[in-house]
């Protein structure tokens, strides 16, 4: 009786989005940013956030017109059945490839740094099994668990970054403009993919309690993520200087390096634990959203049983590349495509809404 009425509150929504998008600072994304613009890489999240701000605002406005409809329903409604379904399918495919490669990347990280001789498949299977179980439980429970974890994640992340200040020098930030302003802007456009997660998060709007909470929550997490990504990349630059281009996973190298004095030389396990917790939540939400997308496209109501099947498929796709280098190359292609595609879709949606006069209809509805 209480379950059906219960919706996600703003706390759970913000925790989910922070854990989902914030994990980007802990994998190989900073290295890829650095390769493009060297030591101005910390500006890219801020600039990309600025560029993505307008399309995102438009997207939010369009979606908030329709209360309790998620992204896919809105796309189908605005663009018509056939074009809409094609667009939805495109989004689903991009997201599936994204999740397969991401899970494989994380598995590689765990295997490289902590379990060198364990077969990749075992680590991968455990990751997908736990995420599938979590996703089966439903978004409310995922939200609850993320709210439980979020504070510890943020606190320990900050502690890790602060401990690295012992050996870092803030002067590595200079020269400020890096390779030149034009290249920075060019790379910011490529960096739009950092915020692709927010695009996907709009799928869970119908589960949130009220429109006000959606709006407030989205902007809070948007700002926070921008800030977090920027600060994290800045800290990596200050610590690693020019070596950042060759270090594959800066967060893990960082936690292996910091120490709490000479009697407790290595404290990486604590940070590893919270990193793994955030990774689990991230893929659980991803799996759930993908399940929802799939269910929407093929009109399946009960997605609970879909999710383990989807998880299995992603596991198989992710096991296809043999080593991490192949993944990195494929990821470059995907990432270059994702950002602009999502931006364009947001703008198209807004244009379609304007052209069909939906805004005027909404005003009339509200004023009636």
């Amino acid at each position: 009786m209480v379950l059906q009425q219960r919706k996600l509150g703003i706390r759970e929504y913000v925790s989910i989005s922070i854990l989902m998008a914030g994990a980007k600072a802990t994998e190989d994304t900073p290295t890829m940013l650095y390769k493009g613009v060297q030591n101005a890489a910390w500006m890219i999240p801020i600039l990309a956030a600025g560029i993505f701000f307008i399309p995102f605002l438009l997207l939010n406005k369009t979606l908030l017109l329709y209360q309790n409809k998620d992204l896919f329903s809105v796309i189908v409604k605005l663009l018509g059945k056939y074009i809409g379904t094609c667009v939805c399918l495109l989004i689903f495919l991009i997201s599936s490839i994204g999740i397969s490669f991401d899970t494989r990347t994380y598995t590689n990280i765990v295997r490289t740094f902590y379990f060198p001789t364990t077969p990749t498949f075992v680590i991968y299977a455990i990751l997908m099994a736990v995420c599938a179980y979590g996703a089966k439980k439903g978004i409310h429970h995922i939200g609850s668990v993320s709210y439980l974890i979020i504070f510890y994640f943020v606190i320990f992340f900050c502690i890790a970054l602060m401990l690295s200040a012992q050996s870092s020098s803030i002067r590595a930030m200079f020269p400020i403009l890096g390779p030149g302003p034009f290249k920075i802007i060019k790379d910011s456009v490529r960096g739009l993919s950092l915020f692709a997660d927010f695009f996907l998060l709009t799928m869970i709007i119908p589960f949130i309690r009220s429109r006000k909470e959606v709006r407030k929550g989205t902007w809070i997490s948007y700002l926070f993520i921008t800030f977090q990504l920027s600060v994290a990349v800045l800290v990596y630059i200050c610590l690693f200087d020019t070596s950042l281009g060759t270090i594959g996973y800066p967060f893990h190298t960082l936690i292996r390096f910091i120490s709490l004095g000479s009697y407790l030389p290595n404290v990486e396990i604590i940070f590893f634990v919270i990193w793994i917790l955030s990774a689990f939540i991230r893929f659980t939400v991803f799996l759930y959203i993908n399940g929802m997308m799939f269910g929407h496209i093929f009109k399946i109501k009960d997605i609970e049983y879909l999710i383990p099947a989807l998880a299995m498929i992603y596991l198989l796709i992710g096991s296809m590349p043999e080593s991490s280098i192949e993944i990195a190359q494929s990821k470059l292609v995907v990432i270059a495509a994702v950002g602009p595609v999502f931006t364009i879709i947001s703008v198209i949606l807004w244009l379609a809404a304007v052209l069909r006069g939906e805004f005027k209809h909404a005003k009339n509805r509200n004023s009636m």
Partner: protein, 415 residues
Amino acid sequence: MQKTGIVCKGLLFLVVVCLLTGCWDRKELEDRSYVIGLGIDKSEHKGEIKVTMLLANPEVGSMQGGGGSTEKPREVISFDVNDFIAAKGTANAIISRKISYEFLRIIIVSEAYAKEKRFVNTIMDTQMDKEIRQNTYLAVSKENASDYFLENKPKMETRPHKYFQYMVDHGIENGMIPDSTLFRYFKTLERGTDLYLAMYTTAKKDKNPKSRTEDEYMAGEVNASGELDDTQFIGSAVFKNGVMINKLSGRETRIVNILDDTTDIKDILVDFPNPFSNKERNFAARIMKRENNKVKMNLKRNKPQIIITIPLKVEIMTNPSMVVFASEKNRRIIKQRIISELKVLNEKFFRKSQQELKGVPYPLPLYARRYFLTIQEFEKFNWGKSFLKADIIVKPEVEIIDYGKQPTKPLKVGG
């Protein structure tokens, strides 16, 4: 009821499987042998290196009163291999347990090998093995590393890692040796604009060491006698592009450590020539660096100018001339002397770095980057060449915070 049965049986099965198979990475604690120090030497065979491993014996000093074991605290083995990662496998032919680099503290390279170009390749291997951590110390030894480990027999520390831990920590605090970790080595290598300092050590004392002032020694020159272990850690080796080119004495290393803001230098004890009389002993002073240096650069002109201001706090520890410091004049004299002494030392050092070393052994170019807007401009400036003709002025800012106990003339006995 039936569902519980199935779940229970499944869980039991899983548990049994977990205990028997699985655990690919599981290795019992005592099943491993921990390498504390690694030595790298030139090998007579072409293309190979001679690797020396210092292994720790955990049993010694473990049981409180119940041990009394007669085993030695460490084991040293040397052999020729291709690289020290494959050496882990070869060593198992001699060592009974599985070799692990988890606790590697220090890598010692012989001077002869550090001067070769192949050294860079060899050291790059440390980035590939995940067990070796980036905060491992790198040191250069005058003789072969294999001999170094054999001769190094600390008399008071039972466990080898403790010895190295204490020696290195206190040496860095004192400023006599640089903070040379693998992390800094690779950072410097990839930055390419400055030089890297590694610790200099030896286990063989020089035959007839000259006697110098407190910190002008290099490793092996300190003439200490008694019942002690002969290993000395003082001075540094200079690396350019990853290969060793020169050596610095303890005093010069101290200067670098004071100039460098990222080292962990604590208080250092030095002495100054006595400004009040030439015949008496030097003053002893304690120098404390509590703030960062201020560097101002003027790089637009043809001859770049670098002005470094070093804030120091000084405590006068001894008073061999029995000078009364209550008088303003005396205070001024000693302050001026300290400032001029430091200025001379620093500028002499910079001249050496411009002419002999052809580079600066600490990350000074980081300060220069502030003055440029883009990386291209900085590269056009070409720090490497510009530094050689730069005009470097050092201004020590000294605050004498304590003069010590004021002397009183002793009364003569018997009138």
